[in-house]
Symmetry: C2
Subunit: 205 residues, 2 copies
DNA sequence: GTTACTATACCGATCAGTGGGTATGGTGTC
DNA sequence: GACACCATACCCACTGATCGGTATAGTAAC
């Protein structure tokens, strides 16, 4: 799986994982049949069970795949070069806003979706989702801490809690957007979060 | 057995709806079997299909039941008597925080949960969820508008968008709480939202 | 008798997972 | 080069269990 030649088509395993990212986010875990994924990936069920021992195991692999993709996306983002940590946070939110441009199931969070559906029924999956969300939140903590220091915030809340709050807002925004069927709603929620962060980290002139 | 049947227990239909509120929020729509609900409600499948034509119809009825219960709860809350609309909003959030005291699947939002799972697969259910969430959000708009006026806010955002944002935060907080398995997380997100509202509606002395 | 409700046995569709098979490509041996 | 050998990847037909829904028979109350 390491160094692969630059073929036009990814291999079956990757195609199944990509199909999973798309379909799981659109229809959820239980409503997605193994054969749906096979159809999207253009393989047969035999191939599916050659690569994954079970549907659960595919979901686990899909979350790992998701972490890899999104981790890369945000790690490579340009805003890390900004000098002011507050600006880095705001730029992060702006990027999240920009990502809303695609189709709805494409910008939604896989981990958030699966958390709801697997809670109490599939502990390993819930755990994997938790690690995914918490890991992403953790990547914001350093910037938040730096901003707190720079802007002299001592308000009885922790950097971790604000990092998790940003993720909560995003997750909630996705639900609202799904309910209403419009991405604009999610954008407005992110705008409110952006305003909150600007109010928290104010220039004390 | 005959004489004991006439207890103060709610009728079968209501017991099924209550079972649905509990079980659907805990396990989701697809993972909840009709017979699970029957077991919790203490009735048989025959009774279930006497009261509801299908599982979908039950879910619809459960959302209506949910709207009734929560609508009553918030309509009857004491804080509506407060004079300052900002204080009414803050008190609303405090009430939401207090409700987190119960077991996790008990304070979660049924509509938010079902939205995710029925998106693209059960349009009528998604619509019902949308109406439920939007309706609840709408009940906050008057107070937000009054607060905007009283505190002289003219910031390029609407009362509706802030109302929906509060719901987004709550929905997201529930997901995080489920992922981590602790209600405290949801409380912290609500605290951030509370702080945001206090920063928006500031006394300009 | 009729209406409202409950119970039980069953049907039919669905779908995760299996088993048995083929195709391809690599490797060692003579 | 030809051969056997083996591993990986893949396909198709099937199965066994699950579960929404139905058919039907009953009971209680007016």
């Amino acid at each position: 799986m390491g160094m692969e030649t630059r073929t036009k088509q990814p291999d079956s395993r990757t195609r199944l994982l990509n199909a999973a990212l798309h379909t799981l986010r659109a229809k959820g875990y239980n409503a997605t049949r193994v054969e749906d994924l096979c159809a999207v990936a253009g393989v047969t069920k035999g191939s599916f069970f050659h690569h994954f021992r079970s549907k659960d195991e595919l979901a686990l692999a899909a979350i790992a795949h998701w972490d890899e993709l999104t981790g890369g996306l945000f790690a490579a983002a340009a805003y890390h070069a900004l000098e002011d940590p507050r600006e880095r946070l705001l730029a992060y939110l702006d990027l999240r806003s920009e990502l809303l441009a695609g189709e709805l199931p494409e910008y939604t969070c896989l981990a958030g979706m699966l958390t709801q559906e697997t809670y109490l029924t599939k502990p390993e999956l819930t755990d994997a989702c938790e690690r995914s969300i918490s890991g992403h939140a953790a990547s914001l903590v350093a910037d938040i801490e730096a901003a707190m220091q720079r802007y002299g915030v001592e308000d009885g809340w922790t950097a971790e809690s604000l990092a998790l709050h940003t993720q909560a807002v995003l997750q909630g925004a996705f639900i609202l957007a799904k309910a209403r069927g419009e991405a604009a709603l999610a954008a407005e929620s992110i705008a409110h979060l952006r305003r909150y962060i600007m109010l928290l980290f104010r220039d004390r002139t």
